[in-house]
C-alpha cells in the first residue's frame, strides 16, 4: 500500500502543484489542509505531511508539525521560504524543503520519508535541509 501524504498549504495552486508531484512520485494525497483544524482532522489517515509555515489561521505551521509528529507519529517535512521561522519545531521534523522548490526536491524528500529508517546523514537532496536527529520509536529528538 502506497504512503498517504497530507499537504498543509493555504495557497491552492501551490498545493495542487505539490499534489501533482506527490502523485508523480507514486504516493497518494490523503488531503489538502489550509489551516490547523483541517490538518488535525485529516491526521489519522496519513503517513507523511508536507507543512507550510504561514497558513490561513496564521503562522501555525510549526505547531501543526509538532502535533502531527508527536500525536500521530507522522513524518513531517516543512516546505517554506523562511526556514528560520521553524525554530524549536524542527525537533519533530525530518527536514525542510526551501521554497522555491524543484519538483525533484519534493520527490526525493518524500522517498526519504517513506523509507523504514530514513538515513538523513546520507541525504544529498538539492533544496532539502535535513534536521539531524537520533531516531526513537515514538518521536524524534534533536541532537543540536
Amino acid at each position: 500500500m502506497s504512503k498517504r501524504v497530507l499537504i498543509v498549504e493555504d495557497e491552492i495552486f501551490v498545493a495542487l502543484e505539490i499534489e501533482q508531484i506527490v502523485e508523480e512520485t507514486g504516493f497518494d494525497v490523503s488531503a489538502i489542509a489550509a489551516d490547523r483544524p483541517a490538518a488535525l482532522a485529516c491526521a489519522e489517515s496519513c503517513d507523511i505531511a508536507l507543512v507550510d509555515l504561514n497558513l490561513r489561521d496564521g503562522p501555525t505551521g510549526p505547531i501543526i508539525g509538532m502535533e502531527l509528529a508527536s500525536r500521530y507519529g507522522i513524518r513531517v517535512i516543512y516546505v517554506t521560504a523562511n526556514p528560520s521561522q521553524i525554530g524549536e519545531a524542527s525537533v519533530a521534523a525530518l527536514g525542510v524543503i526551501t521554497k522555491p522548490f524543484r519538483s525533484q526536491s519534493i520527490s526525493a524528500a518524500l522517498q526519504l520519508a517513506a523509507a523504514e529508517e530514513p538515513e538523513l546523514h546520507a541525504a544529498e537532496i538539492a533544496g532539502f535541509i535535513p534536521f539531524l536527529q537520533s531516531g526513537s520509536s515514538s518521536g524524534l529528538v534533536s541532537r543540536g
Partner: protein
Amino acid sequence: MADHSGLGTDRGALLALYDLDAGGFRHLDEITAFASTLCDAPIALVSIVEEARQRFLARTGLDAEETPRDVSFCALAMLGDDIFVVPDACGDPRFADNALVTGPPHIRFYAGAPLIDSAGVPLGALCVIDTQPRADLTPMQRQGLTLLARQVMVELEGRRRDRDVIARQRQDAAAIADSDRMFRTLADTMPQMVWSTLPDGYHDYYNARWYEYTGVLAGSTDGEGWNDMFHPDDQERAWGRWRKSLETGEPYEIEYRLRHHSGDYRWTLGRALPIRDGAGTILRWIGTCTDIHEQKLMMEEREMIAHELSHRIKNIFSVIAGLIGLSARQHPEIGAVAEDLRDRILALGRAHDFVRPHSAESAPQVGQGQGLLWGILDQIFAPYNARDRSRIALSGDNVPIDDRSATPLALLFHELATNAAKYGALSVPDGRIALHIAREGADVRIDWQELGGPAVQSMQPDGFGSRLITLSVERQLGGRIARDWSADGLKLSLWIPTRSMSRSVGTE
C-alpha cells in the same frame, strides 16, 4: 555760601541711601564722646544736614535730637574742605543773633569737620561746641577731629553699602521669582506634560498638564512615584532607560504607556535633556511627556496594512509559480522551460520581499543586510548555501541597493547560480564559488569565480539564461560584463554604475 551748593533737591534721596531712620549708630556715640574729651568741649555732635533741619545722629552733652537748618553751624561747616572754626559766636556777625547762641545751648565756640561722602557730596559735620570762647583747637585736636570725622564716614558708608546689598538681594529675589513665575506659566500652558528632576533623578516638579492627565494629587508622584503611572509591562524598561541616562548624561527618549485619569493607558513619548553648568556638571533634568496614542495606533494600522499587502504580493509570486508548475504538467513538452520560469519568478519574489519598505517592526533583524547587496545575495543563494554557507562565499565591499536595482540583481544572480548548479561548480559536491565585490571608481565591480567544477565547455550552456544576465547588466543596470571560461571554471566580471545600484547613493 547761601546757595547751599551741593545741597540740591536730590538731597533727600541721597540721604535716604544711608537709611538714617533705622538708627543704631552706637559707634557714632562713642566717637562724639571721644571728640568731646579730646577737644575738652562739653558738647560734641554728628550732624546731618537735611532740607529743612539738621539731625544729630549722635550727640554728647546735648538733649536736642535736631534743630532747624537755618540756625545750623554745620550747614556752613560742611561746605569747606577743612575744619570750620568759630572762636566766639557772639562776636561773629553771622551767628551773633543765632537762637543757639542767644539761647540754649549758648554756643560760643564751634569747631566742625565736614562729613563728605565718597562722591564728594557733603552730608554734615562732626562738631565740638563750647559755651566759652576759644582761639582755636590745638593741632592735635584738629588732627583728631579730622580723623574722627573720617571714621564717622566709614560708619555711614558701611551702612549705605549694607543697604545696597540688601536692596540688590531683594531685586535678585524678585527677578528669580519673576523668572520662576514665567517658567511655571510657560510650562503650565504647554500642551505637553513637563517635569523636572534633581541630578540624581528625584522628580521635584510636574506641570499642571501632568496632574490634569494623570489625575493624581499634586506632589504624589514626586521622587520615584512616576514609575507607578506607567503600564506594568513598561515600568522596568523605562527605569532601565532612565537610569542609563542618569549615569551617562545621554538624552532620555522612550515610548511607553502612561495611565490616563480615566484608567486607560495611552502611548506616550517621553524625552528629557540635562541642564549643565559651565563646567558641564548636570544641574537638573527637564523632561516632557507627549501623548502619541493616536499616531501610534495609526502607525500600527499602517504597518498591518503594509504587512498584509506584502504578504499578498509574496503569495501572488507563489501562486504564479504554482500555476506555471500546474500548466507545465498538462504539457510535459514545456516542463524544463516552465521549471526555469518558475524559479525566476520566485527569485523576483525574494527580491521584492527584500527591498519593500519596512517599519521598525517588520524589518528583518539587524545583520540580515536589508537594503544591501550582500543581503539580497544571501536570499538568492539560500537554497545553494543551505547546508554549507561557504559554497558561494562573499568577500569585499557591501554596497547599498534599492527597489529598482533589486529586480535585475535578483535575476542576474539567480541565473548565475542556476547555471552553476546545472553545469558549473555547484553541479558537483566539492565545487564552490568565490564572489568578490569592490568599488572601482564610479562602478561597483563584481567578480564571480567558479572553482572545482567540471571541465568547462566554452560554449554557453543556456542561451536564454545567458541573455537574461546580459540584459540585466547592460540594458537594465547600464553596466558591462566580461566572461572568461578558464580551465578552472567560469570567471565573470561585472562593472555596474554605483548610481544604478541605489538612487540615493547616486545623488549624493
